[in-house]
């Protein structure tokens, strides 16, 4: 499944190099990357995570031997997965909090009998965090092609948006970086990596509508929480707690900004 795209990629790169050895200007480099992504999207390895996530969703787990299918409400009723992803974050009356997908999964795991605080403190890619990767891949894939429709009806949801906006523009650390330093203008990039402008609706399948995603460079599936965590690392900030309020507020801001955008998650990234 993965051989095909890679072989085609090599062929495409060779062909373009032979055709225009002196024309590798910035536009053609960007085109090359877009071509590379399109080829890879043919066989997105995120499908492996999706399949595992579906099994985890249906499997009775934890000390209470409960399946998510019979106990977890992502906002559209117990067991309902389709369409849930594009309506998160949202306010949940049972926890009396605004929750993103991952903080909601922690609540559901607590119901199964897991220790949610322990899972939140587990590093990415280890222990139950590995299962969360699979679950977010499955849950997001069930809303692929659907448009973001995030509620701002509840006062707590509006507060989270406002706090998220403030966090987005908050400058700090030794480099004075805010989220807005890199994501505040259209058409910018770091090195060759395109940066979505998140001060406006970035459009279909961009920004919040593209994560979780499979990262070719590391062979990992990254959730939105992991994406945000690594942004903050590169911002030279201290460490944002997993599923902490600040990360949920930022997610609320991004989701509302991207209202109406089509979700392509789990996407594929370089």
């Amino acid at each position: 499944m993965m051989r095909g795209p890679f072989a085609a990629l090599v062929a495409a790169l060779l062909a373009s190099a032979l055709a225009s050895p002196f024309a590798l200007a910035q536009t053609s480099a960007a085109d090359g990357i877009a071509q590379y992504r399109a080829l890879l999207a043919d066989g997105n390895p995120a499908e492996l995570w999706e399949a595992k996530g579906e099994l985890l969703w249906k499997q009775p787990r934890g000390t209470n031997k409960l399946s998510f299918e019979k106990s977890c409400d992502l906002g559209k009723g117990i067991g309902v997965v389709k369409g849930a992803f594009v309506e998160l974050p949202r306010y949940f009356s049972d926890t009396q909090r605004v929750q993103d997908l991952e903080s909601r999964l922690l609540s559901c795991m607590q119901t199964q009998g897991f220790n949610a605080a322990e899972i939140a403190a587990t590093p990415f890619g280890r222990g139950e965090q590995v299962n969360i990767e699979a679950l977010v891949a499955y849950i997001s894939a069930e809303s692929k092609g659907m448009k973001f429709k995030v509620s701002q009806a509840h006062a707590e949801e509006r507060k989270m948006f406002e706090a998220g906006k403030r966090l987005f523009y908050f400058r700090g650390g030794p480099y004075d970086f805010a989220c807005a330093s890199c994501h505040g203008e259209p058409g910018k990039r770091i090195r060759l990596q395109d940066l979505p402008d998140l001060t406006h609706n970035p459009g279909d399948g961009v920004g919040f509508a593209a994560w979780p995603a499979y990262r070719v460079s590391s062979g990992e599936l990254w959730s939105m929480q992991r994406r945000l965590n690594d942004c903050y690392r590169q911002q030279r900030f201290p460490f944002p707690g997993y599923a902490s309020d600040a990360t949920i507020a930022l997610s609320t801001f991004m989701a509302v900004q991207g209202q109406g955008a089509v979700s392509i998650a789990p996407a594929i990234k370089r």
């Binding site: 507060k159 406002e162 700090g172 030794p174 004075d176 900030f237 460490f239 600040a246 507020a249």
Partner: protein
């Protein structure tokens, strides 16, 4: 305990809203809520301590959706300019080869970086510098031909003095000339040493540097 503080702030913010007009919390209450979230959500990790969330005047003034008022911006620029440390020996330029290495190096100061390792300059992340390096970012302007375009044929000559000093100030503290610049304050914040900044100065201004190659 951290959670409690956040909850209390949330509660206070909520109460303030109710006491006000019961429609929406005031901007001040939302500012407080955001501060409480920062406190409850972040923890120190490695070299990245929590004091990084304490803003100075310049960071605070440039944390809005819109830039600060002109007079505020001018005041920040004046204060930042006054804090620039100029090279004590009057030597502004080092080795452009070392500067190029620094420009390529994007490491340093994250929570996964070890303590005591010198940081890179991160230049290519945001700027074009040489013809040879096509993997450059576009958040900042292109600096290709930086010295040549400014007529610097001999950086040591009095005629080049003004642009040499301006460039040092930009690298040491970008906020001295543009209050809300996206560029880090490399000297001011202790990200780069004076010796490292000299090497970057050479990369930009030395006529032999590939930045200025014809």
């Amino acid at each position: 305990m951290m959670m409690k503080t956040a909850m209390k702030a949330l509660f206070l913010a909520g109460a303030a809203a109710l006491a006000g007009c019961a429609t929406a919390p005031s901007p001040q209450a939302l500012d407080q809520l955001t501060q409480a979230m920062l406190k409850s959500s972040f923890r120190e990790q490695g070299i990245a301590k929590l004091d990084r969330l304490t803003q100075d005047d310049a960071q605070q003034a440039c944390s809005g959706e819109k830039p600060p008022a002109d007079d505020v911006a001018r005041r920040i620029e004046a204060a930042q300019l006054a804090s620039v440390k100029w090279p004590a020996d009057g030597v502004y330029l080092g080795d452009w080869r070392e500067g190029e290495k620094l420009a390529q190096n994007g490491r340093g100061m994250t929570w996964s970086d070890p303590e005591g390792v010198p940081s890179g300059g991160n230049c290519y992340n945001c700027h074009q510098l040489t013809k040879a390096e096509i993997s450059y970012g576009t958040i900042g302007p292109s600096l290709y031909q930086y010295g040549r375009l400014r007529g610097v044929s001999d950086p040591a000559s009095p005629a080049s003095g003004e642009i040499v000093k301006y460039t040092w100030g930009k690298l040491w503290n970008a906020k001295a000339t543009n209050a809300c610049s996206n560029m880090p304050r490399f000297g001011h914040a202790g990200v780069l040493s004076a010796a490292q900044i000299r090497d970057l100065m050479a990369l930009l201004l030395d006529p032999k540097s590939p930045v200025n190659a014809q």
